[in-house]
Symmetry: C2
Amino acid sequence: MPQFNDTELTAAVIKSFEETPDPRVKFLLEELVKSLHDYVRKTDLTFDEWGYAIDFLTRVGQKCTPTRQEFILLSDVFGVSMLVDAVNHREREGATETTVLGPFYVGEHKPVPHGTDISSNLPGERMFVQSRVTDLKGKPLAGVPVDVWHADDDGYYDSQRPTYETDGPSSRARFITDADGRFFFRTILPCSYPIPTDGPVGEMILQTRRHPMRPAHVHFLVDAPGHEPLITHVFIDGDKYLDTDVVFGVKDDLVAKVEKRSDPVTPDGKPVAGPWHLMSYEFRMKPGQGNAPKPMMAVTEDA
Amino acid sequence: MPQFNDTELTAAVIKSFEETPDPRVKFLLEELVKSLHDYVRKTDLTFDEWGYAIDFLTRVGQKCTPTRQEFILLSDVFGVSMLVDAVNHREREGATETTVLGPFYVGEHKPVPHGTDISSNLPGERMFVQSRVTDLKGKPLAGVPVDVWHADDDGYYDSQRPTYETDGPSSRARFITDADGRFFFRTILPCSYPIPTDGPVGEMILQTRRHPMRPAHVHFLVDAPGHEPLITHVFIDGDKYLDTDVVFGVKDDLVAKVEKRSDPVTPDGKPVAGPWHLMSYEFRMKPGQGNAPKPMMAVTEDA
């Protein structure tokens, strides 16, 4: 006869998964059960606390829409997304560090010419970005697609705007590296911005007195043949939120000095009016395989 | 400068919660971060597995409605609900064991007279239930409200029926114990039944080759003044799912022998036609305080 009390229960739950056909799924479920049970035992979780957790998770799920993924946001602010990234990229061997994809990647675009101003004339301080893609020995990699996206001067991505479908992309583009592995473009200087705080995750951030800010950054997705796809950000040195990024995405290697310039021409020889910023960064690719990620959109609703 | 890699990340996330005003909330969040991070490190969770988890949890949240709570069901099948019950009821001192409330408690009803047939003439084998509520020394407790609810012969609760609002309760009632602490009623023999399998939790149960069944039982909620409210089930001895209850709710102490009888009268002296079953069970209440639970309904949708 069973006795599902606090000492025998865990073994019974683990045993319930013993017929799971896939050994990896079985392992993941067994470890999940141990982890959940250890947590409840260690904290002596009360009924009210358990009820709060049930309600919180339900609200997180119900906040998700085809254009918003509140569970990824939850994973992000608990540092889980970055840790998954970390355990899957333990040995970099000198390659550029990785960081989270984030919820604002929308997939590939048609490549645009080097030097394009991708900001669609949005207001903001002007920035010229020059970059190069190489292998671990510094050999340039030519013909490599590089996707770029960043927030605007108000802290929003184009895909967060209600007019996104009609206006098309802005501060978002694809380049193909030239024979020297180079690509370059014009845009505006991104600024630090808060994650959405109008849902349950934002509620937790505010209730625990954390700030909701991410330091200013530009996203890059570099997908060179024969190399691991590189998903990363380049952060702007001096940002006040570098040490306390709400999603823990910062690594030393990814912080770029952005110079304030007043030269009348940008590095591509074109004239420029007024002061501008220069971001220079090189990407070192790790040999390997892998598929570039697809955008992580929320499921369609099924309530 | 920060370095949110796989060894330093956990400390950084824990530190982010250091200003949390409530020390208990702070402790629960710190332990949650440790637990989640240990899990990711121990399993070397892949991006695909993480993505599956995000999608699964989103679907669980989106399956919840005002009459369905899929996150409680998830907690149940992982044995977490029973463990929360267990750590909150470690020392029973001879009192009746507790088990999960379940999702089908709908709150109080107007008391009905002893002997009432609560089954609303549903088809099924007839059962007479006789019971008594006492303190730990066996002294009867009079005037105690006892809520009773159980599934019908098809394995459904009245509240799962689309006609529930118009037809009113069935196999569900409140009794008040008499001067001897007794209460008794007529109903049908409940049967074992599956948890709902049309959602993501059911999907997991089937994919892992677990069965979705709960052994036959009657729910009781006994709320005696000066005693801890007792939330429990009485299970029917001989049920084939006692050892493998999908929500791990069974304890030895809660299994009752249900006798098959053919006497022409039930214990209250009333005539009965054909064979019937007799369930006898006594509840021993633990001194203490506490509020009887409210029904655990899903949040309203907020998508």
